[in-house]
C-alpha cells in the first residue's frame, strides 16, 4: 500500500509539472518548474534503487543542463517574447498526434512480457553498492561506448565555443 501511495504521489506531481513546463509563457518559470520535476524524477529513481543515477540526475540535469538553460534565458532579454501567443494555431492537431501516440504506447505496454531476469538482483546491488555495480558494468562491458561518449562531449565543447564566439575584429 505505502509504495503505491508513494508512486501515486510521484506520478501525479511529475505529470502535473510536465504540463506546467510546456504551458508557461515565461521560460524562467518553466525552468523553475523543471527543477522541481528533476527532483521528483530523482526521487522516483531512488525508489527504484538507482541511487547513483538519482544523484547524477540532480547533478547533471539540474546542476548543469538546467543552469545552462537559465543562463541563456537570462542572456537573451525576452520582454517582447512574452507578448506572443502561447501555442501555434494548429495546437489541436499536436494534441491529437500526442494523444494518439500515447494510446498506442499504452496499448503496447499491456502486452509486455518480461524477459528472463539478469544477475543484478536487489540484494547483489545492495551488497556491492549501486555505484560499484554500475561502474563494473560500465568500465568492462561498455568501455568502448564510454570512450565514444567522452568524444561526443569533446565535440560538444568545441562546437559550443565555435558557435557562441563572436568574430574577432582584426
Amino acid at each position: 500500500m505505502l509504495p503505491k501511495l508513494f508512486f501515486g504521489y510521484y506520478a501525479v506531481v511529475i505529470t502535473f509539472l510536465s504540463v506546467l513546463i510546456i504551458t508557461r509563457k515565461n521560460p524562467v518559470h518553466s525552468v523553475m518548474w523543471m527543477l522541481l520535476l528533476f527532483f521528483h524524477i530523482a526521487g522516483l529513481y531512488l525508489f527504484l534503487n538507482a541511487e547513483f543515477i538519482a544523484a547524477i540526475q540532480v547533478i547533471v540535469y539540474a546542476g548543469a543542463i538546467l543552469v545552462l538553460f537559465l543562463f541563456v534565458v537570462l542572456l537573451l532579454n525576452l520582454r517582447e517574447e512574452l507578448q506572443v501567443k502561447r501555442f501555434v494555431g494548429s495546437w489541436p492537431a499536436g494534441l491529437i498526434i500526442a494523444a494518439g501516440m500515447l494510446a498506442i504506447v499504452v496499448n503496447v505496454i499491456k502486452s509486455f512480457t518480461a524477459a528472463p531476469r539478469g544477475i543484478y538482483s536487489i540484494e547483489y546491488i545492495k551488497n556491492a553498492t549501486h555505484t560499484k555495480a554500475l561502474g563494473q558494468v560500465l568500465y568492462t562491458e561498455y568501455l568502448f561506448p564510454f570512450e565514444i561518449a567522452s568524444l561526443i562531449l569533446l565535440v560538444a565543447i568545441i562546437g559550443a565555443i565555435v558557435l557562441a564566439k563572436r568574430k574577432l575584429r582584426s
Binding site: 509504495p3 508512486f7 510521484y10 506520478a11 511529475i14 510536465s18 504540463v19 513546463i21 510546456i22 508557461r24 521560460p27 518553466s30 523543471m34 520535476l37 522516483l44 527504484l48 538507482a50 543515477i53 547524477i56 540526475q57 547533471v60 540535469y61 543542463i65 545552462l68 538553460f69 541563456v72 534565458v73 537573451l76 517574447e81 506572443v84 502561447r86 501555434v88 495546437w91 492537431a93 499536436g94 494534441l95 498526434i97 500526442a98 494523444a99 504506447v105 499504452v106 499491456k110 518480461a114 531476469r117 539478469g118 543484478y120 555495480a133 554500475l134 558494468v137 562491458e141 561506448p145 561518449a149 561526443i152 562531449l153 560538444a156 565543447i157 559550443a160 565555443i161 558557435l163 563572436r166
Partner: protein
C-alpha cells in the same frame, strides 16, 4: 510492489507531453525543454525496466542518454545564442529563410 506497467505508462505520459510541447510551442527554449522532457520520459522507462529485469544495462543506457543530453544542450543553446544575435528573436517561425 508497484507494477512495472505503471512506471512504463508514466514514462510514456511524460514523453508524450514532451512531444505535445515540441509540436505546439514556438519558443525555441521551451521546445528544447520539451526535448529534455522526452528524454526524461525514456529514462524513467529504462530505469524501471532495469530494476524489474534486474539488469544494469538499462541504467548504463540512461547514463549515456544524460551525457548526450548535456552535449545536446550545450550545442543547442550555443546555436540559440548565435541565432538570437543575428535575428534578435527566439521564435522559430521567424527563422524560416535559408539565405544567410
Amino acid at each position: 510492489m508497484v507494477p512495472l506497467n505503471w512506471y512504463l505508462t508514466l514514462g510514456a505520459v511524460v514523453f508524450m507531453i514532451g512531444v505535445f510541447g515540441f509540436l505546439t510551442r514556438r519558443n525555441i527554449i521551451i521546445m528544447f525543454m520539451s526535448v529534455e522532457l522526452m528524454l526524461n520520459g525514456v529514462n524513467i522507462s529504462l530505469i524501471s525496466l532495469s530494476h524489474f529485469l534486474q539488469d544494469l544495462r538499462g541504467q548504463i543506457l540512461v547514463f549515456f542518454i544524460i551525457t548526450v543530453a548535456a552535449a545536446e544542450a550545450a550545442i543547442g543553446l550555443a546555436i540559440i545564442i548565435a541565432l538570437f544575435r543575428n535575428k534578435s528573436t527566439i521564435h522559430v517561425d521567424e527563422m524560416s529563410e535559408m539565405k544567410g
